[in-house]
């Protein structure tokens, strides 16, 4: 069955065709098409008849009560104290410092070499990312002539989320676990394929193309051992590193598995 045939059958089932002649002829031409049409129609009508559900008033009240009770008990809004203002500008200052140093070196050596340029640029990007981890806004990194573009893109991410020191400590501890192979992983069991697909989807949403998954974690109270507290709002995460990079040298990107957003990069 060709894609166009499937599209035609789906359009007929969903009643999207102004002129159904071609679709009707198609399903009449082959028992396989006819069977496909009937199964699609059966499922579509069953689902359409089900229709969207609504909360009852009791459920709605319970939802609002429980959400606000939970939020107030944790005082989430008040708990998230932003990093000091100078943390935001630290990566920019560090980047400028390196650029100024680079210009001085180039001037002294009468033009400098490409290797020096690349090394300095890579350092700039790395410095920017460290600042980004603290919740700072980073300037766009200098172009790297196509060298490891994924890493550069990752390091230039703007982490607008204001992370607390506790958040940073938690993800640093998780990164250490990942590096030592001690990360709590999902028990995929028979859902392995589905979970893998979900993780891949999340990596794509976080624009981490060219990265490979090296672990996934689900925060629990047990993680508190060793003195690192689990943040109240920590969600399951997936950890990924750039492909073909040694784990000890690679930045580890953490992606929230519920929001599919990049939340932290450990250098």
């Amino acid at each position: 069955m060709r894609d166009r045939d499937l599209d035609l059958i789906a359009a007929l089932v969903e009643g999207r065709l102004e002129d159904e002649t071609e679709a009707r002829a198609l399903i009449a031409s082959d028992p396989e098409f006819q069977a496909e049409y009937e199964s699609q129609k059966l499922a579509y009508e069953a689902l359409s008849n089900l229709g969207p559900a609504m909360l009852t008033e009791m459920e709605r009240s319970a939802l609002h009560r429980d959400v606000w009770t939970e939020l107030r008990s944790q005082d989430v809004a008040g708990e998230k104290t932003r990093s000091p203002w100078y943390y935001r500008w630290a990566p920019v200052a560090a980047g400028m410092f390196v650029v100024v140093g680079l210009v001085a070196v180039i001037n002294q050596s009468g033009g400098g070499g490409d290797a020096a340029m690349e090394a300095a640029t890579a350092t700039t990007a790395a410095d920017s990312a460290e600042g980004g981890d603290s919740g700072g806004e980073t300037s766009a990194p200098a172009p790297t002539d196509g060298v490891e573009p994924d890493i550069t893109a990752l390091l230039s991410q703007d982490f607008s989320r204001a992370m607390t020191a506790a958040d940073v400590a938690y993800y640093e501890a998780e990164a250490e676990k990942v590096r030592t192979g001690d990360v709590d992983t999902y028990q995929f069991e028979d859902e392995e394929a589905e979970q893998s697909s979900r993780i891949e989807t999340c990596l794509e949403s976080a624009e981490l193309t060219g990265f490979e998954v090296i672990g996934a974690g689900s925060p629990s109270a047990e993680d508190a051992e060793g003195g690192v507290a689990v943040p109240e709002d920590a969600n399951p995460y997936v950890a990924a590193i750039p492909e073909d990079t040694a784990l000890e040298d690679a930045p580890i990107a953490f992606v929230d598995l519920l929001t599919c957003e990049l939340i932290y990069v450990d250098q």
Partner: protein
């Protein structure tokens, strides 16, 4: 329907701790989030838990929202992922046999509102589908989202959604056929 600019403004207010802004977002999306969760989880109580968790996550992670998609799309993505997560946890917990009165397939134990909103044969058939197919047809055929919006929520290309919806319907029809035998 809120515009992207209104979404951004509301989220900015939430990040600043404006509870009324978050209430507006909840009121606007709660029925649909609940509906998506109900169709994926197949049980009102679990769907309510997942809905609650979805909004708690949305509140806590409001500062992660980058505006690359509509706010609703972002919230429904959290809802679908939360449901997946809770289903996964349920499976991990189910090491012991489930008492009959708690078995989600024991539809006689569910209350009247369940039987009105959840047609047991469809719920069973939906529950038998792989999660990827289930979420695609729930968003498309029950919630009436267009393929591009479903693709945004699930974070996959439109072609993949189209394929999942088609194959999901085919499997659902098989399941419904098997039940009627």
């Amino acid at each position: 329907m809120t515009t992207a600019a209104q979404d951004q403004e509301l989220l900015a207010r939430v990040v600043e701790g404006d509870h009324e802004a978050f209430n507006q977002i909840m009121r606007h999306h709660e029925d649909r989030v609940f509906s998506v969760c109900l169709r994926i989880m197949g049980n009102r109580e679990q769907a309510l838990d997942a809905t609650q968790e979805t909004f708690l996550t949305a509140f806590r992670k409001a500062d992660q929202f980058k505006g690359n998609s509509a706010l609703g799309t972002w919230i429904y993505r959290i809802a679908v992922n939360t449901c997946y997560d809770q289903l996964r946890k349920q499976k991990r917990r189910r090491t012991d046999p489930i008492p009959g009165h708690l078995d989600p397939t024991d539809y006689s134990a569910q209350d009247e509102v369940d039987s009105a909103a959840l047609r047991p044969e469809i719920v069973r058939a939906l529950a038998a589908l792989p999660q990827d197919f289930r979420s695609a047809i729930v968003l498309s055929d029950i919630e009436g989202m267009g393929l591009p919006e479903v693709a945004d929520v699930l974070g996959v290309p439109v072609g993949t959604v189209k394929s999942r919806v088609f194959r999901g319907r085919r499997l659902l029809a098989q399941e419904l056929g098997n039940q009627s035998v």
